[in-house]
Structures are given as C-alpha cells and as structure tokens.
Symmetry: C2
Subunit: 347 residues, 2 copies
Amino acid sequence: MAASVTIALDAMGGDHGPSVVVPGAAIALVRHPDTRFLIVGNAASIEPLLEQHPALAEKSEILHTDVAVAMDAKPSQALRKGRWHSSMWLGLEAVRDGRADATVSAGNTGALMAMAKFCLKTIAGVDRPAIAVIWPTVESECIVLDVGANVGADARQLVEFALMGAAMGRALFGVERPTVGLLNIGVEEVKGVDEIKAAAATLKNAPLPIIFRGFVEGDEIGHGAADVVVTDGFTGNIALKTAEGTAKQIGEYLRAAMGRSLLARIGAILAQGAFRALKEKMDPRQLNGGIFLGLNGIVVKSHGGTDATGFASAVDLAYDIASSGVVKRLAADIARFHAELELDGVA
Amino acid sequence: MAASVTIALDAMGGDHGPSVVVPGAAIALVRHPDTRFLIVGNAASIEPLLEQHPALAEKSEILHTDVAVAMDAKPSQALRKGRWHSSMWLGLEAVRDGRADATVSAGNTGALMAMAKFCLKTIAGVDRPAIAVIWPTVESECIVLDVGANVGADARQLVEFALMGAAMGRALFGVERPTVGLLNIGVEEVKGVDEIKAAAATLKNAPLPIIFRGFVEGDEIGHGAADVVVTDGFTGNIALKTAEGTAKQIGEYLRAAMGRSLLARIGAILAQGAFRALKEKMDPRQLNGGIFLGLNGIVVKSHGGTDATGFASAVDLAYDIASSGVVKRLAADIARFHAELELDGVA
C-alpha cells in the first residue's frame, strides 16, 4: 500500500461541479487522512470553496482549467474538441503521467470512457474495458460488471470481464478465489445466449483463479449468489437501473404507508433509529461509483446528479481501488491466463 | 363480456400440483363467481381436494389424465413425448376447441410456450409470441413484455410487442391510446442497439393507436414512465427477476431493522397495519402471472413455486384477460397496422 494516495478530481464534471466535488473530497479526507487531491477546474470557483475546508486545502493542489466537457457531449465530440484542456482530460492525464493514482469524475460517462481509453489505453490483452459497480447483497456486497461501457459482449469479452471482476474481488474483498456467476435467464434450450454458454464453458474448464458458480438469475444478484456477476453492458445497465428504481419505489411505498394512520406515525417515530439505518443501507449515495476496469489506471465515475455525500463515496472507492493494487493484479492475471483462454478456442 | 368465463387449470403443473391449484381456484372463484373451471389432472388427487371446496366443486369439471410435463423437461421433449395426454396440453386443447376461454399452468415455461405455439398457433401476422407481466408502479401498474418467451428481438418483433402490449393495455387499463416506451440504456452513441433504434423510428412515425414515449431506462419502469414497456425477452427477464430480488432483499433489511431494538419492535407493532399494507403491496403473489401474447387463445403462466394465494392471482389475471377481449383486439390491431409497419421498411 502506498504511503499516500493522490486522487485527481474533475471539479467541472457532474450537475453541480465544484460545489459538490470540494465538500465531497473534504468528507472523504476525514475517512482517509493520507489522501492528497489534485483538483482540476476553474481556480476562481474552487478556491473560495477550499477556504471553507482548511484541512482539505492543505492536502490539495489546484490544476486550473476553465474547459468543461458538456454533460450531453457525444463521446466523439468530447474527444475532438478541447480534449487537451478539459478538466476531465487533465485528470486522466495526471493518472497517465503518475501524478495521481486515480481520477474521479461525475461527468458524462460516454465521454469519460472514450477519453479514458484514448489517454490511458487498455491493459495489454484486454479487448474492451468494462464498468464495474459494487452491488449490495443481503449479507454483504458483490461486484457486477459490465454495467454500461459496452453494448453486447462476445464470449471472449465476458471471460475477460470475469477475470477483471475477480481481480477486483480479490483486491477489495480479500478472497483468493472469488466466486463468479454469469447473469442469464432460467429458460433452458433457448437460442441466442450462445455467447454466455461459450463463456460458461471456458470459465468452467480453464484453470483460472476463480470458483465458477455457473449461471445466476436476476434475483440472485442481491441474494449474494456470487462475489462477481458478469454480464454485457446493456443487460448490466438495465439490471442496475431496475434495482435502483425498485429500491426507490419501495422507499416511497414505505413513506406513504408510515404516514397513513396516527398509530403508524407514532410507530414510525419510535422506530426512527431503525428507519435511519435502513435508509442508510438503501441510500444509493453509499454505493456511488462505477469503476472503469481494464485500463492502465484507475477511473471512477460518480453519478452526475449526486451530492457531496455521494461524491465522497466515489472518492472512497477510488482510494480503496488505488491502495489495493487492482490494476497491477489485473494486468498480471490477464497476462497469465491469456494463453489458457486462447487455447480454449473462444473467439 | 361473456356471461361466464371458463378457465382450464393444469392441475399437474408447478411444484405443488393440485394441492395449490384447487384451493387457488377456490379463492379466485370468490372474487369472480361467474367463473367455471375445467380442472385437468389426476382425478384421484383432485376429487378429495374439491370436496373441501363445495362451491368450487359445483363450478368445476375434472378432465382426467395422469400424464404430467416434468418441471425440468426440455421444450422439445415436452412436445415429443406424451404431448397429447399431458395436463398441460389438454388445457391448451380446451382453449383451442372453445371449451375454455383461457388456461392457467404453473408448469415449465419453455414447455408451455412450445406447446402453446404448436396447439394454438400464433395470430396471423405475429412473428413471435411474447410473455407480458403486470409490473407495479408507484401510482399504478404497467405492462412489461417480453419477459422471456424469446431471447433477443429484432426491430420488427419489438414493434409487434409494442402493438400487443398496447392492445392488452387498452383492454386492461381502459385507455384508448396507451403510452409505450422502449427499454434502453441512457448512453448515447453506442453501437449494438440498432434494433431498438429502428423500432423507435417505426413507433414514432407509424400511425399506431399508441402514444410513443421514446426510450425508458430501467429505473423508469417502476416510476410509471409508460403504460407499456417493450424489450426483448432476455433483458425483460433479467429486469423482472432483478426487481423481484431487490424487493425481497429490502423486505429482509426491513425485518432485520425492525427487530434490532426494543423501541423499533414497539414501533413495528404500532405500525403493523401499515406494514401489512406494505407487505401486501410488495407481495409478489399479488402479481403472479405471465400472459402469453400473440397466440389464438389465452395462456397464463403462474410461478411454479407459488402457493394458493399466488395461483389465485394468476387465475384472476386469466379471468380479466378472457373477459376483456384482448385476443380479438390484438388480432384486429395486427391485421390493421401490419401494412403500415411493412411500409416503414422494418425488416
């Protein structure tokens, strides 16, 4: 573990820019006092905010730019226009050049991925990077990937996602051979999931540092069926959003139910400690952050609309990943198991 | 609306067979006293159960068979072996021959769909049947399809699903032009969703009896973004299962939180009426049943592991669909709008 971790922050990304990024970093710093920050953005906006957080100011350096990547910019546009000067790019560049161990941005996902690939390049042997999230389970947490870096994935890519997710699982959860499941539907003998079947055949037979759990259905993710759940970016994104939407919907039912009668309102007051714990557990801000896996460097994408608490979670995640050595482990795994995968004839 | 509705019940399907099917039918009969039942299965098992439900016995006829389709049978096997004598097949045959208005089975989904296609045939002009479910939203309900009849769907099939879902929405929700959304991910400019984009272009421009809402993300389903949410069977199945799993997971968090302290336990007792209402709202048994759309007849698939309460919900659904005239409306819509779709050049 490095003596200190430096995290570059894209202070112009997201819906709220530095007004969320700076206080978010201040919250994260309390939890990880050995963090240093490179805050990239408009110095005139950042400085007054930093003045309110003297402890953070002491650990931070501002890298000035007034070029922001628009939240609705197309990835190709973002890559063309102003890429050398935007806060998003400069954060990535700091990682590439070793001035930061990770970068966090709440900006446009597509633009961030396009720039990250261009700036950091994919790890040798990795076909496509993926976005991984930490998904809460009944007992603990699991890693789900890809949740939206790509649309569709062939068998080879699914196997690579499994390897990348497992490397992350080993680093974050401290298990030597994480359990891995492939997201699938329960119906047998249906055509079209050939890629998933082929990936399963490889994962079952190849001598990889995982315990392969086979297929996992949608309801088994949160049940904790595997440490790592692998799927293509389209399906993973739909599953993630659907779970978030369902949690929000149930929260609304609960609020409505608790306000309906006097007894229920009194009950809710008595149980408010329990409700607070539940609310925290269900708070999407606690698990804010998608990790870009498969690049030569650490990039964490925060929700664009999050607040300081949510942004702090994304910074925590960047800290954990940076101090866990995931990237090196991942590169080593890919290098080590690439030959095995190739032998298995997966296209 | 027909004077009475006859529903064929596959009494040998599901994990529990007649011990769930018979009491389930008895519950549904109380809600819809004008229902008649054709209970297909082993008479020796069914008769003693019927004796416990005299009101149901009066409205029921038993069609004896002792051939069941195994829960793990492959669809092709189910079609080959014993298809003429199984309880599943005989229920479908009763619909085909006009002796029943609908059939409900808790048996193997793949086998049921294969047999249903073979026995009832698809409606003229429909490429592939779909499975639709009623999905609870914050304010009301919506229809989601396909949730697993097919894996993958081309643009033409997605448009047909939209038409079928809209016909169901008109019949069930009583709205003349249901709102329709296409499930998609938020990331712009990614390749691979060409089918969805092409379907969107057709739905936007064709003079169909719908209000097209464009793309809907996973978290917007439960938010009530559209009356009908259209997706391919793989994605729809993953989304449905993920939502069910998340609801169950949150239920477990809630139970744990409410048991943790004395105050919380007292609060939970005071608020028990509210909790009961919430539990009912979140009870997956309340919305048990997938409707096979696009066939010349009504087939409802119940969860295999459900209890009598859940099976009764599936019977309710069959009753609602049978008395709403969905199938005729759907056939008329497909016939009427087929030409428009063809003109639009969707392959």
